[in-house]
């Protein structure tokens, strides 16, 4: 196994408080709104982390035990981007414009 760069040691000082706050985020939301709240949360945290290697590791672990063939298929493709294009390498395009 490669040395993990994602910190998976216990970090939260008050885990129960955090867990409660996480659930409260979703209180009174429809399923669709909850999905949006989760997505926003992930995007905010991902940007805060800002390290692609750490994020890749987290993406890999998040996929473990889920879906057909579980983690190994994702590991091979190197990322969890859904639309894998034939022969197009999944490299990062650094100079992008919006």
């Amino acid at each position: 196994m490669k040395p993990s760069r994602l910190n998976v040691e216990p970090q939260l000082a008050h885990p129960d408080d955090f867990y409660q706050a996480l659930l409260e985020l979703h209180q009174g939301l429809t399923d669709e709104e909850s999905r949006l709240a989760n997505a926003k949360l992930i995007l905010l945290l991902a940007n805060h982390i800002g390290d692609q290697a750490v994020l890749d590791e987290a993406l890999r672990i998040a996929r473990e035990g889920l879906g057909e063939g579980s983690a190994s298929a994702v590991e091979r493709s190197g990322s969890a981007v859904p639309s894998v294009i034939w022969a197009a390498p999944l490299r990062r395009v650094t100079k992008e414009r919006t």
Partner: protein, 565 residues
């Protein structure tokens, strides 16, 4: 519908080849007079390659089709002598606005840094581009352009390619040394040769309309995610020349394309979008779908080259279709010219695949990612898309994730076998493979631009010392390079023109931008390909390394090199 543009008709003419009864030989045949085939013909004309251009139709494309042309394409058209015409007809835009629902979430400005002749993009209807290229072909002469000539058969053989061509007067046959296939996304020739084109086919349908407006809408790109005036997922509004506006509506999956194309329906949609009071005429409507895919290889049987949409297709988001195809041609023709003149081995032609396949993959990757963002395919994908847009209104980090099209940028050709890697460090991103950057300059004849001094042949850029003088030794090297089998014309860049340098090649770096962009400390030398991409660069000028880099850029093996050098 009121037409904003009348399509010209180019007359079919019977040619002598049709009466000989046996296949007539032509060195180069280009199939397809779309933007890419026309550019190929222009580049052949500029390089003096005898060629025939065949097209099944007798006019330009219907409706605007491609509308955004990138800086790199304009620079290529400058090299071919018609960039100025396109820019003066086109519309320059820099500002884009992104809306989500009824709200603008942010605006962006594409204005490039100062000191480049060409803007980041112009908008111009594809039919105007095609007309302009046809006009330029007429001026250059040398193109045997045959309308209503449809290729129906292709037979590659060891020493050439045989063709069967159908015309209003019946079929005839030709043969050629090299065949350039620019017959578009459906590429009949690709099918005739049984060559696959693999990738993703998208189910999404877009309704596309050209609208003539008198209203003074700003020259900006407006993109709506989940527009309030339309049930589909996205809408784009973009200005073209002559007050024509492009509107793209993404249709619902279950929409009936024929029903959607009915003018009454389209007009109602546009009114909902622009407001009842805005006066407009509908000029053209179409429904399109798209694919993101490519052929496995673009060179086939050694002598057949697929270019443009025939070789690869992308979604329209990012304007990478025509802009990508124009770069294919820019890459191919100088190589063909050198190989046909016996100045480079046929191996040079293999670098077309080595350079343009990664470029196509980059375009496919970017346009596929844009498509996924614009037309999310799953609940999760949609949730992330909408969450990104919600955050983007307030948080700049999320704007960088918003993807309404990553606009075409030139290929960097980083891994090309023709490059000679840097052995020194440079304070400039223009490494081997990069297309040269522009800068304002002055020459003996007046104000000019750097890129206009480069291209069509191998050129060198040499940075003189501040006083503008060039040592006798460097002058000698520059003369030797100019007199080689493959001549390298060297431009000397200084702060002022010096009478002491080699004659007629001095460039004054009026704004200091050449030096800055190229990291041009005194003595620095850049070797540049005929397509304006960098081959190699050094901190001082020595003959042998330049010679080696030149041979490498010609696809020579080491052994070959020794024979030729």
């Amino acid at each position: 519908m009121a037409r904003a543009h009348e399509r010209p008709v180019y007359a079919y003419r019977r040619v002598a080849d049709q009466d000989t009864g046996r296949p007539v030989y032509h060195p180069v045949v280009i199939v397809g007079a779309g933007p890419v085939g026309l550019t190929a013909a222009l580049d052949c004309a500029v390089h003096g390659l005898p060629h025939v251009l065949l097209d099944a139709e007798d006019t330009v494309c219907e409706g605007s089709k491609a509308i955004c042309f990138a800086k790199r394409s304009l620079e290529i058209f400058d090299r071919l002598g018609c960039g100025e015409r396109l820019v003066s007809k086109g519309v320059v835009w820099n500002l884009g606005r992104v809306f989500f629902g009824g709200r603008q979430i942010y605006a962006f400005n594409l204005a490039p840094e100062a000191g480049h002749q060409r803007p980041a993009f112009i908008n111009l209807q594809q039919y105007y581009l095609e007309e302009c290229l046809i006009e330029r072909l007429g001026e250059l002469g040398g193109t045997d352009l045959r309308w209503r000539n449809t290729v129906t058969g292709v037979e590659p053989c060891a020493d050439g390619v045989g063709l069967t061509v159908d015309t209003p007067d019946g079929a005839y046959r030709m043969r050629c040394d090299y065949l350039i296939v620019a017959d578009g996304a459906r590429s009949p020739i690709r099918h005739l040769l049984g060559l696959p084109c693999r990738g993703q086919v998208f189910q999404d349908r877009f309704l596309i309309a050209d609208v003539v407006m008198q209203a003074d809408f700003p020259t900006e790109r407006w993109f709506w995610f989940k527009p309030p005036f339309h049930t589909g997922q996205s809408t784009l509004l973009h200005r073209q020349a002559d007050n024509v506006w492009r509107i793209d509506f993404q249709l619902d999956r279950d929409a009936d394309p024929d029903e959607e194309k009915r003018p009454e329906r389209v007009i109602a949609r546009i009114k909902a979008m622009l407001g009842e009071q805005v006066r407009f005429d509908l000029d053209w409507v179409s429904v399109y779908t798209f694919q993101c895919r490519r052929m496995e290889r673009f060179q086939h049987a050694g002598r057949i080259f697929f270019v443009g949409d025939a070789a690869h297709q992308v979604s329209p988001f990012g304007a990478r279709g025509a802009n990508g195809g124009i770069q294919d041609v820019d890459n191919l023709i100088w190589k063909l010219a050198l190989v046909m003149a016996g100045k480079a081995p046929a191996a040079l032609l293999e670098s077309y695949d080595a350079e343009r396949i990664p470029a196509a993959d980059e375009n496919i990757l970017n346009s596929t990612r844009s498509t996924e963002f614009i037309t999310p395919k799953s609940e999760a994908s949609r949730a992330f898309r909408d969450a990104t847009l919600m955050l983007a209104e307030h948080y700049p980090f999320a704007r960088r994730l918003v993807n309404s099209g990553r606009l075409s940028v030139p290929a960097m050709l980083r891994g090309s076998p023709l490059n000679t890697p840097d052995t020194e460090t440079f304070d400039s991103p223009l490494g081997p493979g990069a297309p040269c950057a522009d800068a304002p300059i002055q020459t003996a004849t007046g104000e000019d631009w750097l890129l206009r001094q480069l291209g069509n042949l191998f050129t060198g850029v040499y940075f003189a010392a501040a006083h503008g003088r060039v040592s006798a030794r460097s002058v000698e090297i520059i003369r030797t390079l100019a007199g080689g089998t493959i001549p390298v014309t060297v431009r000397v860049v200084g702060e002022r023109l010096s009478g002491k340098g080699p004659d007629g090649c001095g460039i004054v770096d009026v704004a200091g931008l050449v030096r800055r962009r190229y990291g041009g400390s005194p003595g620095t030398f850049y070797l540049i390909r005929p397509d304006q991409h960098v081959c190699a660069r050094w901190r001082q000028l020595e003959l042998e390394p330049v010679r080696h880099a030149l041979l490498r850029a010609l696809g020579q093996t080491q052994r070959h090199s020794e024979q030729i050098a």
